[in-house]
Amino acid sequence: MYKILLKEDLVPGIHLFKVAAPNVAKKACPGQFVVIRIDERGERIPLTIADWDEEEGSVTIVFMEVGTTTRRLAWLGTGDFITDFVGPLGLPTHIDKFGTVVCVAGGFAVATIVPIARAMRREGNKVISIMGARNKSLIFWEERLRSVSDQLIATTDDGSYARKGLVTEPLKELLENGEKVARVIAIGPSIMMKFCAKTTEPFGVKTIVSLNPIMVDGTGMCGCCRVSVGGVTKFACVDGPDFDGHQVDWDLLFARQRIYLDEEKRSLEQWQGQSGSCS
């Protein structure tokens, strides 16, 4: 059992847990993830490690409510327990001195990009971060990301805060305006990562994306997480989750993410029926 040391509601539908997992905290690196299972009946789902504190023995995760598991998770609070918390899984993000690195984050992924931006900066890179949200009410950790970046650009889809538009727009401008970008790291919804990769492709700038296919074990045992990169099948949980965005077969990823649409709906209905939740 893993204790939730702290729960923080960041914005509506996005929550932060600080979980007591001292061994995971000792080994965590930027870009890695954990697999959690709430209880005996729960599903195993992957969540990126957003932060860790070796001294405190804690690991921070930030998650967005989308379906049954993440909504059930959102019901837990400080002092509650999660049955399983396995990690750190996946390969760490490749951190090196590249020059100028642009970190692009969409939605909840602002949390997951912070440790990457921080590590890139520590390594001596110039870090330009771009963060995007649907609207003002969903903006969080802007200051935190700014504090680990040389420059920060925020966008909202509806223009209710900061710059109006999608993250790909400032990204394109940076590249067009002659900023010598050595590498782009884009993390967020799959569609956003795809378009970031499409944006950088004509400029030939290496773009790393963090793929989020459906997973079960997260250790290379089931093959559920297969993705196609450069025409070769890879298991995202052990060969990734970071891959070269220009090589990813996006259509395959999108299709495989939809395998359980019907079941996800049924599961949510059953759970909402039981819990009497009103959403």
Binding site: N23, V24, K27, R37, R41, G42, E43, R44, T68, T69, T83, D84, F85, V86, G87, P88, L89, V216, D217, T219, G220, M221, C222, G223, C224, R226, S228, T233, V238, D251, L252, A255, R256, R258, I259, Y260, E263, E264, R266, S267, Q270, W271
Partner: protein, 465 residues
């Protein structure tokens, strides 16, 4: 000598029509009368050829005689002195190629049903001697620590034997339950999880610590274990990484590896979705590729989930199928359709990326290959299409490279298996032993247990100096 009785007492089983839709155990087990009748068929031959067929050398005539005498506690004692997991082995050992193959009566076509009797003894013990599984008196602690990686049959056996010798033993297991393939692979209707759990509890009762959710190679490395107070490490991580054929369309929706399918169904209990949160697709027409136990288990799970038609697609003929005979027969009885001498060429998908069919070749058998089985050869121009909406690929597994890739000095073969001495399990790296599927590639429960036992002996020898 009594007259030879060639009538094996049949195993009572659930009706195929009914069992094809439930997850309860198929084989119901002998009654005491049936067991004694079957036991009386054993002629107690002095050569004891049956024992030679058992990888852990169970005293077969001994425990059978005890059943005959009606002395069940004695049968339990004899059996368990060699095999600490009889309830499991009696159910899943491929007896027809092991103990029952070498039984003197096998020549007459009716070997003693050793596996069924073994199962009977184990079940009798669980029902009648609830405290029998409780810990034997343990020797004085040696003060030495052994780390075991993986809680499959090899790891559990090594752990139990070392704990009984006074070592402080910790098992590290990647998944959220212990038991390895016995928990995540072999389905409930063939090996009830309660039985596996009882064995795991027994091992824990010997003082063995079991650390779940611990992926060695990620959470800690072998060298870190050895540097942090572990005097020896045993690797029993199995052969858990699925293989695919690398043919077109293999990543279509609806195509599972057997590992994923069985893990969802057995470990995550998807057959009870949505009561349990993990979903699994229920195909109407399901093709399972392969001819081993894994393929049979996948096919029978698909049937139980509610498929209309389930095919086994196998590239050789029935004689070459590596599955346990009994399960092959069970599968046939349940209505699984066998398409033999057939191999997929490619999968066909629809616009939504869902599998809708597979193109197959007809095959024929050529000369025997290295494995001694006749090599399947493609019949050119024989392609035909089967409509399917779900596929389970049971094409074999190989060791997961997670541990080997993070352990310098651990030698592996080109198949990814760890190099270890067959007799002692000693790996090339100092203070490291290995056994079970990680060394042999996918094999059997009893061979994994045998390897765990031999490694425990050698680790003890080493630590005593």
């Amino acid at each position: 000598m009594a007259k030879l009785n060639l009538n094996r007492v049949p195993m009572p089983r659930q009706d195929p029509k009914i069992r094809g839709r439930n997850y309860n155990e198929v084989a119901l087990g002998y009654s005491l009368e049936q067991a004694r009748e079957e036991a009386s068929r054993c002629i107690q031959c002095p050569k004891r050829s049956c024992v030679e067929g058992c990888p852990v050398e169970v005293d077969i005539p001994g425990f059978i005689q005890a059943i005959r005498d009606g002395d069940m506690p004695e049968a339990v004692r004899i059996l368990k002195s060699k095999n600490s997991l009889p309830g499991i082995c009696g159910r899943v050992c491929p007896q027809e190629t092991q103990c029952e193959a070498t039984c003197s009566l096998a020549k007459k076509g009716a070997p003693v049903a050793i596996g069924r009797l073994e199962r009977f003894v184990a079940d009798w013990e669980r029902a009648n001697m609830p405290s029998a599984g409780s810990s034997p008196v343990l020797p004085k602690p040696t003060g030495r620590r052994v780390g075991i990686v993986g809680s499959g049959p090899s790891g559990l056996t090594a752990a139990a034997d070392l704990a009984k010798l006074g070592y402080s033993v910790t098992i590290f297991e990647a998944l959220h339950v212990a038991g390895g393939v016995l928990m995540y692979g072999i389905p409930e209707f063939r090996l009830p999880k309660e039985i596996v759990q009882a064995e795991v509890n027994y091992v824990a009762s010997l003082g063995v610590k079991i650390e779940l959710d611990s992926v060695v190679g990620k959470l800690m490395t072998i060298d870190e274990l050895l540097g942090n107070g572990y005097d020896a490490v045993f690797l029993g991580t199995g052969a858990g990484a699925p293989m695919f054929m690398n043919i077109p369309g293999e990543n279509l929706n609806g195509i599972y590896s057997a590992n994923e399918f069985l893990t969802r169904v057995n470990l995550m209990k998807a057959y009870r979705f949505p009561e349990y949160d993990t979903p699994v697709k229920v195909g109407r027409r399901v093709a399972v590729i392969g001819g081993g136990n894994v393929a049979m288990d996948s096919a029978r799970c698909a049937l139980r989930l509610g498929a209309d038609e389930v095919y086994i697609i196998y590239r050789r003929s029935e004689a070459e199928m590596p599955a346990r005979r009994e399960e092959l027969e069970n599968a046939m009885e349940e209505g699984i359709i066998f398409k033999l001498l057939t191999n997929p060429k490619r999968y066909i998908g629809n616009e939504q990326n869902w599998v809708v069919g597979m193109e197959c070749y007809e095959m024929e058998l050529g000369e025997p290959d290295e494995s001694g089985r006749r090599r399947p050869i493609v019949k050119e121009g024989s392609e035909f299409i089967i409509d399917v909406d779900m596929v389970v690929a049971a094409l074999g597994t190989r060791p997961n490279p997670l541990v080997a890739s993070t352990t310098p000095g651990l030698e592996t073969t080109k198949w990814g298996t760890v190099v270890a001495d067959e007799e002692t399990g000693k790996a090339v790296k100092d203070k490291v032993w290995a056994g079970g599927d990680i060394v042999t590639g996918a094999a059997t429960v009893i061979s994994a247990m045998g390897a765990g036992k031999r490694a425990a002996v050698d680790i003890d020898k080493y630590l005593r100096g």
